[in-house]
Amino acid sequence: NAGVTQTPKFRILKIGQSMTLQCTQDMNHNYMYWYRQDPGMGLKLIYYSVGAGITDKGEVPNGYNVSRSTTEDFPLRLELAAPSQTSVYFCASSTPGGGAGNIQYFGAGTRLSVL
């Protein structure tokens, strides 16, 4: 079972470059999320999606964009990379039907450095 797959695992960007972090899940989950994890700060929600074609901002959306054209894929786009976006990015998906008690399944993460 693949679960939630994120690519790439590591990336170094120069300031001002753009890139897309890929996330795909094979569990037919409606809900998908992007979080960023900074040292000593826990995880912060960037964007989320409750189904194909529906996305919304989380707590820290500035500098990022998302799209959800299929149930399986939820890519995160960085348009103009800045050093403040150096972080570990996690994609997650949750059990069908959503609800506050839903369990989220996480990918292995993408480590991004912006220099």
């Binding site: 979080y35 000593g40 826990g42 409750v50 989380g58 506050a100 990918g107 292995a108």
Partner: protein, 115 residues
Amino acid sequence: AQSVTQLDSQVPVFEEAPVELRCNYSSSVSVYLFWYVQYPNQGLQLLLKYLSGSTLVKGINGFEAEFNKSQTSFHLRKPSVHISDTAEYFCAVSDNSNSGYALNFGKGTSLLVTP
């Protein structure tokens, strides 16, 4: 919205000793509570959850947690730890007010088990 406080950033413990990782939360409504574990360079894995019912919940790897509504706490315990329990532990909360039922995470507690 809720907040989550993990009272200890680091907890060193000897192998086979008991451990308690503390978590307090604030919320004005009924909450759902989770503990996730993150092993080095990996994604997050669910340890256990409290949705409703019995306040003592058991999870994987011998961990358990107790929901205490009056003290707004959800402390994680294990009677005897192993070296392999060395990891980062995150307490998380969700309720019906969260964006897309996203999780609100604490800052994490680093558990270091030594021989």
